[in-house]
Structure formats: C-alpha cells, structure tokens
C-alpha cells in the first residue's frame, strides 16, 4: 500500500476553507490512506470532511484533502521505550478531532506511518469522545514477513484502540487479479475496495431510512470479531437490480463465493435504494442472503436516497466469532506454531488423526501466539521441524463424489474425526 502510486492525479492547489462542523470525519493516514481518501473524493464525497495525515510532505502535497496535517511519527525505537503511551496529539490534530461524532481512520498497515499513526489516532479520537472505526489494509505476502509482522502488531493495537476495525488483507485480492493486471493496478484495486467499504458505511450513517441500522450495532458486530470480519459492497442498476446485486455480492472476492457468509456468526446488511425501492427487491435480497447464512444473526438496514433511483447498493459485513482454541492446530508449516498447543499434543500420545483444523487468518494466529507468551517465537524454528502434514484426511471411497455438506460440515469425513474423539 505504501508503494508510490505514480499515476496519481497531479496535486491540486486547494483553497483550504475551514471545514464545516460535520459530525463525521475521515482521516487518511499515510500514503495509502491518503490515496483511498482521494478515491472517495473523486467519487463525490464532500471534501470538507477529509483530513490527510502524513510525515511525508510529498504525499501530503499530492492530496486534495482540505486539511493537511504534517505529523512527525514517533520512531519505533521511542515507542518501545514507552514513548507511545505518552504520545500527545499535537493541538492541530486535537482541533481536527474535536466535535466529531464519528471518525473514520483509513490507513495501510505495515508501512512506517500508518502502522504507528493509526492506533495513536484511534486513541486520540476515542479520547475526544467519538466513535472510531478504522479501515485498514494488510500488506501482500510478497512485501515480506517483516512488514507483515509490523502490520499485525499495528492491527493488534488498533483493535484495542478503535471501536471497530475493518481489515482488508491485500493477499485476498490475488483472486481478483489476473495475470495481466499491472502491479500498480493491484494497489489501486485495494484502495478502491477499501473506499467502497467506507462509502458503504458512510451511507449507513448519513442517509435516513425506513429501517435504520444503528452505528452502535455495527460497532458491536465489529468489536469482538474484527479479525474475521469481511465486507462486500455491490451496486446494480436497471429493472433486474435485485438479482444482479446479489450475483455481484456472491462473486465478491472478499466473501469467497459466499463461503464467508456460511461461516459467519453475524451478518449486517445495509441496502440503499431510490424512492422506487420495492419491498419485493428488499425481500428477495434478504431472503437469498439469509439462506446463505443460516447460522448467523442477520441484521439489516435500508435507506433511501433520491439519487439512487433505479439503482440498488448493498453493503454486507460478515463477522465471525474467534475460533475456540482447544484442539486447534495450524495448517502448513510456514507459520510459527502455538507453543502451548504443541505442548499439549506432545504430552499425550493420542490418535494420529486430528480434526481438520479451522482455517485461521494470520491475524488470529498471531494473536494466539502472543497469548502463549514471548517464548513462542524464539523456539519456533525448532518447533517447525515437528510439523507434519497429518491433516490430510482422505475421504476414501467418497473422495471423488460430490461432498455431503451439512451446515458447513463435510459428512463424508468420519464422525469421530470431526468430533475430535481419539481412538486408543
């Protein structure tokens, strides 16, 4: 995200009038955050609510945001020494935060600015008494493990500081990208997706609707499950919009073909349509979505915007409870293994068959790793040796047949394995 985007618009000299006292503010922190804000402004959102924050004057100059706050980011060394806790937001930032009811923080984690600034900003915003929601991207795998680690740490802190975090791991985009997509475009796509998500939530907030979805509800959804939340925004036009919008949603890479919905514990759906939005439209969208996520609590909101005549936009945010840790093992050997868990399996010579491990996102793995204490990382190279690919469960004679899936469980896998019962 922090790559320099060369085909960005040339800097526009902005007249910089004082921003109107709006209850919603968007802070773009770091190069990535600023670019996402550019996207949003280009899409017609009022420029007055945007604030660009960066330590790099070049990227600030490229921003067309009304307010630009050049900040010096405390260096990591100082942070480790405990300076982070004592970081005082400069008065100019305090002024920008003051009086806001809702603050969006947009940033790309893993770089130097966003990773540090994001949590600080969130903390400052909370202190100013605003609801804080962060939109962040995680770096691609190829950007290196160091950057990933930094991003994870940043996310971890952000999670504690903000009311809710919506996280877009860039690696997920690889499904969207074909062989011909240029390097620059990949980052642009990531920016666009993040902008889409922000716009979707923005609408939730700003448009009045017959069925209101409270922001607090949204935060609640995101608070405990942030590491696993996925979002998707889709728009469609024309008479067939309710069908098209669903197709787009289910094809959305973030939802992994609806798989995310099936696994979600709570799903939040927000519809935005014109005055011509029919009950049948709402019904068909909701019915289809609900049927995809039978196990989840579904909450919905609908709002009306005059400019959306003959159009329908649907925002879906799906959250999943963190997976319980007992019996969890990691797939593959790339990630350091949870020390505590491995200890358990070493002491007990149980069955060689283990239940198929739930697929954990890297953030979650990292979180588990932290809980097990600092020793985990040091001994990880040694532990890596013990990891064998035991999880491959052959389905025997049903290997080639259509799997029998019931509520997300593959019934062809022996019951005792799925329930984790050991044979002696």
């Amino acid at each position: 995200m922090s790559m320099d985007d060369t085909n960005q618009l040339p800097p526009e000299p902005s007249p910089a009038p004082l921003p109107a006292r709006v209850p919603v503010r968007v802070f773009g922190a770091g190069a990535a955050g600023i670019k996402v804000c550019e996207n949003l402004m280009a899409a017609g959102m009022p420029a007055g609510v945007f604030f660009a924050l960066d330590s790099d004057p070049r990227s600030l100059a490229a921003s067309s945001a009304v307010e630009k706050l050049p900040l010096t980011v405390p260096r990591a060394r100082d942070m480790d020494a405990g300076a982070g806790c004592r970081f005082e937001p400069p008065p100019v930032l305090k002024a920008a935060l003051g009086g806001a009811e809702l603050i969006f923080i947009v940033t790309g984690l893993g770089g130097s600015t966003g990773t540090m600034l994001g949590p600080l900003l969130a903390r400052a915003a909370k202190e100013a008494g605003a609801l804080t929601l962060a939109f962040v991207t995680m770096p691609f795998d190829f950007e290196g493990t160091r950057k990933k680690q930094a991003a994870r740490d940043g996310l971890e802190e952000l999670l504690q500081a903000a009311d809710g975090v919506i996280c877009l791991p860039n690696q997920k985009l690889s499904k969207l990208i074909d062989g011909n997509t240029s390097f620059v475009e990949a980052f642009k796509l990531s920016n666009e997706l993040l902008a889409d998500a922000l716009r979707g939530i923005w609408r939730l907030r700003t448009r009045q609707g017959p069925v209101e979805l409270h922001f607090e509800q949204l935060c609640e959804l995101l608070r405990d499950q942030h590491t696993e939340s996925a979002f998707a925004v889709a728009e469609a036009e024309g008479p067939n919009r309710s069908v098209e919008v669903l197709e787009k949603l289910l094809a959305h890479p973030m939802l992994e073909g609806g798989q995310i919905l099936t696994e979600a514990d709570s799903v939040l759906v927000s519809l935005l349509g014109g005055p011509d939005l029919t009950l049948a439209d709402v019904n068909s969208v909701m019915e289809q979505l609900s049927s995809k996520c039978e196990g989840a609590q579904v909450s919905m909101g609908a709002s009306i915007d005059d400019s959306f005549r003959n159009r329908l936009a649907v925002t879906v945010i799906a959250g999943r409870q963190p997976v319980p840790e007992i019996g969890v093992r990691q797939r593959g050997s790339a990630e350091p293994l949870n020390h505590q868990l491995l200890g358990r399996s070493e002491t007990k010579p149980e069955s060689r068959f283990v239940p198929p491990p739930p697929v954990l996102p890297p953030e979650r793995m990292n979180q588990m790793l932290r809980q097990s204490g600092g020793r985990g990382r040091k001994s990880s190279p040694k532990l890596r040796q013990t990891q064998l690919p035991l999880e491959i469960i052959s389905k025997g004679r049903f290997d080639k047949s259509e799997p029998t899936i019931h509520r997300g469980e593959d019934l062809d896998v022996p019951t005792y394995i799925r329930r984790g019962i050991s044979l002696n």
Partner: protein, 411 residues
C-alpha cells in the same frame, strides 16, 4: 400368468449396495401378491445416485433377469425408486375460490385447487417427483379429506412436494431405457419404504420411517394419516464402512466384513471392553489385531450422528411431537445389532424394526428390512394401477352414456 384378471407390477430399486427387482401380481379383487424377486450387487452407484452407468445397467439387467426367471414373467415396465441428496421435500398450499352459484364443491374444483398447489417456484432444472395431497381446508375448516359435494366459498389444499434435480433423476431412468424397460413412474424410495412398512393405523397415529440404505438415509414422517415431511441424508452404511476402513486402517472390503460380523450400534452392548479381533490371512497367519472398542466407537458415532441430523431436521419442521406410533427402521442399516436401542436413546421415542407384513406371498424371503423399498414400489404401483382402473371405468361410463344419448337421438 395368462390370466387377464391379474396384472404384473414390478418395483426396481437401484440402490448403492444392491439392485433389487420385486415382481408383484395384482389381482382383479385388489389383492397384491409378490411372485418374484431378483437382486444383484450394485457397483455403479454412490450415495444413491448412478456414477457408472454401464456398470449400473449391467447390475440392473442381472436383477431383472433373476426376477423374471423366478416369477416366470417378462418384465416390460417398472416403478423405479429414486433417491439422492438432491431430493427435497416441502409443504405447499394451493387456494381456489369456489365459483359455482350453489357453492357446491365439484370434482373440477378439487382438480383445480390441487393444480394450484402444484405450481411452485422451483429452479428450472428441478423436477417434481411427488405432489402428495394432504388435507383440504374449506373456509378455514381443517382436516377434510374429500371435499366433493360439500359447500364452501374458498377451498385450500396442502400438498407435500418432493422435488429433485431433473438431470440426476434422468440418469436412473436412462439406465432402464437402455435395457428396453419402460418406467411407469419414479418414486422416492423413502416414500416406497413407508408404504411397505406402515399400516393405516400407524400412519394415523404418526410415525417416522427411517430407511438406512447403503448410500443414503431416507426418512418420511406420517401424521394424521398424511405425509408431513420427507428428507434424504446422503449418508448411509457405506459411510460406516468407510469410517471403519479409515479408522482401523483396513481395506474397504475388510471393513465391510468387520461391520457385518462384529458391528454394533452401541459401545457397551454386547460388552466389548478390551476385546480384540485378529484378522488372519488365508494361511491362518495373523495379519492385524483390531480393537473392538474402536470399531464400535466409530460405528456408534456415525450412526448416532445420522439420527441426530434427522432429529434436527424434524425439530426444524416441528413434526417431532406428532410421532405417537414411534419410529420404524428399515434398509440394510437396520440390521446392525442394537441400532433400535441407539435410535431410541437418540430420538427419545419407541423404535422398532419395520416389518413388511402388509403384503402376501413369498413371506419368509421377503420379510427382510432391505426389501422394504422394492416391495413398497410394487405397492405404489398397485395404487396407481387401481387409480388408473378407476379412471378408466369413469371414462367408460361416460362413453356408454354418450353412446346411449346418440342411440336415443338416432331412433
């Protein structure tokens, strides 16, 4: 065989573990007699659906030939049992206003309301296998079984619709077409089994029939004499064998054998703690020692899960409380020792192994739970035949009355 007063009805079930053809003879007085049975090991079917058409066709041929020889008839058409995870059952209601001046409900009204109930929004590739009439409602009055001749303004009817993927249903039909066999009708196997097992009283009291086959487990709920719910779980005896093969690390055929010889649905009964089974090769040398407890545990967990899944489904459609006659098991899976006890524990209801005693002929050979489906297919066929005969007589009647009118006008 040459008696024109009886007609031949054949039920054919292409199951996952066996192909079974049953020949029944329907006498003019309505008595049904089973005269032939043919079966063959099935090799081309997985989870109730054909996956190797030539192989399945060969097995069907074997079964049909055997049945033909035994019954000494030539089989031209069959009632074909279908199953598979793609089949779904649900209830639908049709409404029809009675428009005649005197508000009397006629036969045509009944046909109309049923037609309305059958028009369901299904995906294009889906086909309705059954639309089974439940009860009529007239002006909100429930529980009417035959409304013809009654008075009312608004008639409704509930139907239970069983539908499935057309292409997958066609596969089974095609394998018969290749053998020059006509398919009179396709029947959901769970429904067929329930027809063979249940008496009218049991249907009235409310019962659940669970047919644990090789590849699928079909279940049907009757309450107040009508079918309330049907379902298919694409899990069956094959899964038990597969689990054993995997868990005990033996080949599938050996697992199948172990299941039959040493299997039990309960861990504790008969007692097995610490017991082992030694598998020997053809020379009597021990190859492998298997812990009986493990075998039982694997089986018991799988079977328990099947019952749990069925129970969850029934809970969802709210039919668990209607089952006063209890649960009847059939299919090859019901031969597993102690399975009734396990089902009783899981479902919290009286459970028994179903008996196909509602039919006469070849008694001892047929009173096996595996044949319930094929016998039920014959029974279904006999109902259809009788219905057709009744319809035929109506049209005959019309013809004769018309003839009389013309005769009269002629004179």
């Amino acid at each position: 065989m040459f008696d024109s007063s009886s007609s031949i009805i054949v039920g054919l079930e292409i199951g996952t573990s066996k192909v079974c053809a049953v020949v029944g003879e329907l006498h003019a007085d309505g008595a049904l007699n089973i005269v032939g049975l043919g079966q063959a090991r099935s090799r081309g079917v997985r989870k109730g659906e054909i996956c190797d058409a030539p192989m399945a066709e060969e097995d069907v041929r074997h079964a049909i030939v055997e049945a033909e020889q035994m019954a000494d008839v030539e089989i031209r058409s069959v009632y074909l049992g279908v199953t598979g995870g793609h089949l779904r059952g649900f209830n639908n209601r049709g409404v029809h206003p009675v428009v005649s001046a005197d508000r009397e409900i006629t036969d045509a009204d009944v046909q109309d309301v049923i037609k309305n109930a059958k028009t369901i929004n299904l995906p294009a590739q889906n086909h309705v296998v059954h639309a089974i009439r439940q009860h009529f409602l007239i002006d909100g009055q429930d529980g009417i079984t035959n409304p013809v001749g009654m008075l009312g303004a608004r008639m409704e009817v509930d139907v239970h619709v069983v539908h499935g993927n057309l292409n997958r249903l066609q596969n089974a039909i095609r394998s018969d077409k290749g053998l020059q066999l006509e398919v009179d009708d396709i029947v959901f196997t769970g429904l067929a089994s329930s027809l063979a097992l249940l008496t009218n009283e049991q249907k009235e009291l409310g019962s659940l029939v669970i047919d644990i086959g090789g590849g699928t487990t079909d279940y049907v709920v009757y309450a107040n004499g009508i079918i309330k719910h049907t379902g298919v779980l694409a899990v069956g005896g094959d899964h038990v064998s597969n689990d054993l093969a995997y868990g005990l690390k033996v080949p599938l055929s050996r697992a199948e054998q172990l299941k039959i010889e040493h299997g039990s649905a309960l861990m504790e009964e008969p007692p097995c703690a610490g017991q082992t089974i030694t598998i020997a090769n053809e020379l009597g040398m021990p190859l492998k020692v298997i812990n009986l407890e493990n075998l039982r545990r694997i089986m018991s967990l799988r079977l328990e899960e099947i019952f749990q899944l069925i129970m969850q489904d029934l809970e969802q459609v709210d039919t668990l409380n209607y089952l006063r006659a209890g649960v009847f098991l059939c299919g090859g899976g019901s031969r597993i020792p102690q399975i009734a006890k396990l089902a009783e524990q899981t479902l919290q209801m009286p459970v028994s192994i179903g008996k196909t005693n509602s039919i006469s002929g070849l008694k001892s050979a047929l009173d096996q739970p595996e044949f319930a489906t094929a016998i039920g297919l014959v029974k279904f066929g006999s109902f259809q035949q009788r219905k057709r005969a009744a319809k035929g007589s109506i049209t005959d009647g019309i013809k004769s009355t018309l003839g009389q009118i013309f005769k009269r006008s002629g004179t």
